[in-house]
């Protein structure tokens, strides 16, 4: 099917909205838009970061998911206590595939679940004593732990436990940082506020702790990788490019990151920010307080990688810029081979995306490098500044949808008929059963890494593997196929 015109897209949105009652229709209409590159300010066309409508299927998470799951969770040498009932921690355990190096249960703890397992009596009498006991137990059982964070679940805020006081006391007792994080799930409209709360907790409890320590010898080429959660090894395939350029990566936030790295971050020369949505707060804070400039970059797809590498190199002297060109040249033959192999198989295919807070705009370049086109994109929990950045990346008259509901997404897909959908696990089986190739773009569908040049090769292979899989021709059973084809098969038999 050819691409929709602006009028057709507008008509499609109007048609989809038809099913809602008037009040809901008015609200949802603000979240759906047709992209117009001439608009500079996204709020003229789309509203974001608002409470989801009761009664619709939303795909959003909660503040606890944003803090425990995204920002704090991957810090490998700390133990993150899911403070509250057991479910929140258990059902989110190890789901994001943040890879790390270390021996789990000895000096690293990312895939383990620590919880205070609240019972009725803890709700009635408070859980502070239990929390203090857990911290002592952790110290006894896992002496190599470098620090502890207390991630509150909803009941903690509801019953008003004073986790700050317990943390301060426990921290003095075990002589390790204990960070209370007030990330109760009911705060905010989505996981986005959880990111913000987690960033603020890092600012208040981690950054200034080691400022007297002078054992670290800074170099003029110290950078940090901020907002890369090492999903399937993403941070590693990004890091090697920076290191080949002659830069020294002193901290990874927070995929495969450690507490010591975070404490060192104020000594960096430049903060490189990948996930703008979840870590721009701390970057802005470090810019103001320590004078460290920050820069957004994009390591998806060779075009954007080369662009970002050059932008990063421009911050440093000529030796780095020279090495940057060498790095780009070194990987060019590999990129050419990948593109030569997969572009003919993928070119012209149309993609719809619906992911979290960064990828809906970051991966567009990757698809375009393979000759594919993104015809619709949307965020679960982005804010206005994300859409400002998205409008430029997307083509005119393409669909933008914010916090899309299950119904709307299905209807859009039925009408736009994309060749591939990139979204999460909750959408995966619906669309696969509709016969549309699907990739999980949250966890890279258990593949990855997708960042960097090495990641691009894997990305291209995965997209080809999904799109050109022979199973998509087998969805109609032989007895329902048109008669002519059936006869051919009979003859062949």
């Amino acid at each position: 099917m050819s691409n929709l015109t602006r009028e057709e897209t507008e008509a499609l949105i109007a048609e989809v909205l038809e099913v809602y009652p008037d009040k809901a229709k008015k609200d949802r209409a603000k979240h759906l838009a047709v992209n117009d590159q001439s608009i500079e300010q996204s709020k003229k066309c789309i509203t974001s970061n608002r409470k989801s409508l009761p009664g619709v299927m939303t795909i959003r998470g909660c503040a606890y998911a944003g803090s425990r799951g995204v920002v704090w969770g991957p810090i490998k040498d700390m133990i993150h206590i899911s403070h509250g009932p057991v479910g929140c921690g258990q059902y989110s355990r190890a789901g994001r595939r943040n890879y790390y190096i270390g021996t789990t249960g000895v000096n690293t703890f990312v895939t383990m679940n620590f919880t205070s397992d609240f019972q009725e009596k803890d709700i009635v009498f408070g859980g502070d004593k239990k929390l203090a006991k857990i911290i002592t137990e952790i110290e006894e059982l896992f002496p190599l732990v470098k620090g502890i964070s207390v991630q509150s679940e909803c009941p903690i805020g509801l019953i008003g436990d004073d986790i700050e006081a317990v943390s301060k006391k426990a921290s003095a007792a075990i002589n390790k940082p204990v960070v209370p994080v007030r990330c109760e799930g009911f705060r905010g409209v989505s996981q986005s506020l959880g990111h913000h709360i987690a960033n603020d907790a890092i600012r208040d409890w981690v950054l200034d702790v080691k400022k007297e320590d002078t054992s670290f010898v800074p170099s003029p080429y110290d950078v940090t990788v901020i907002g890369d959660y090492n999903i399937g090894g993403d941070a590693w395939s990004s890091r090697i490019l920076l290191e080949e350029m002659g830069l020294r990566v002193i901290a990874q936030w927070s995929g495969d990151g450690s507490l010591a790295e975070m404490e060192l971050t104020p000594k960096a020369k430049l903060n490189l920010l990948h996930c703008y949505r979840s870590m721009n707060y701390i970057s802005r804070h470090m810019e103001e307080k320590y004078g460290i400039p920050w820069m957004e970059y994009n390591f998806f797809g060779p075009t954007k990688i080369a662009e970002s590498l050059r932008k990063i190199a421009a911050f440093f002297d000529e030796s780095i810029q020279k090495k940057c060109e060498e790095v780009i040249a070194k990987y060019q033959p590999m990129v050419d081979a990948v593109v030569a192999k997969y572009k003919p198989r993928l070119t012209g295919k149309r993609v719809m995306l619906y992911v979290g807070g960064l990828r809906p705009r970051h991966v567009i370049g990757s698809y375009e490098d393979l000759g594919m086109e993104v015809v619709g994109t949307g965020y679960e929990f982005a804010h206005g500044d994300d859409y400002d950045r998205t409008i430029k990346e997307m083509g005119n008259a393409t669909l933008l949808y914010d916090d899309v509901t299950g119904f709307e997404f299905e209807e859009f897909v039925k009408k736009v008929k994309p060749d591939l959908i990139g979204s999460g696990i909750k959408e995966k089986y619906i669309f696969q059963k509709m016969g549309i190739p699907f990739r999980q773009m949250h966890s890279w569908d258990y593949s990855g890494p997708y960042h960097g040049y090495d990641g691009f090769a894997i990305f291209a292979r995965d997209m080809d593997m999904t799109l050109n899989n022979p199973c998509w021709n087998k969805l109609i059973p032989p007895w329902k196929k048109p008669a002519a084809e059936g006869e051919d098969m009979a003859k062949a038999a």
């Binding site: 500079e40 300010q41 810019e287 804010h383 206005g384 500044d385 400002d388």
Partner: protein, 74 residues
């Protein structure tokens, strides 16, 4: 009154950031912009305007400051 942060953009212009509303925009004009007197009424690219109590210019940007909303766009 709201806490805002003012920083330099890529082209040397002032960039306004209002964390509460995730509003990031360039400043088109600032009433006073000398080392001795800095602030006053600021106009944003989106049409909104804010007021910063005139003061001596901050030594280093970014700089967090309280600002009063005079006229928000929307």
């Amino acid at each position: 009154m709201a806490n805002i942060m003012i920083r330099r953009g890529d082209k040397g212009e002032y960039v306004f950031y209002l964390p509460k509303r995730d509003l990031e925009d360039t400043i088109v004009s600032m009433e006073f912009d000398t080392p001795e007197k800095w602030g006053g009424e600021i106009k944003l690219n989106n049409g909104g305007s804010y007021f910063i109590e005139p003061q001596t210019a901050p030594e280093r940007l970014p700089y967090s400051v309280r600002a009063k909303r005079l006229d928000a766009a929307e």
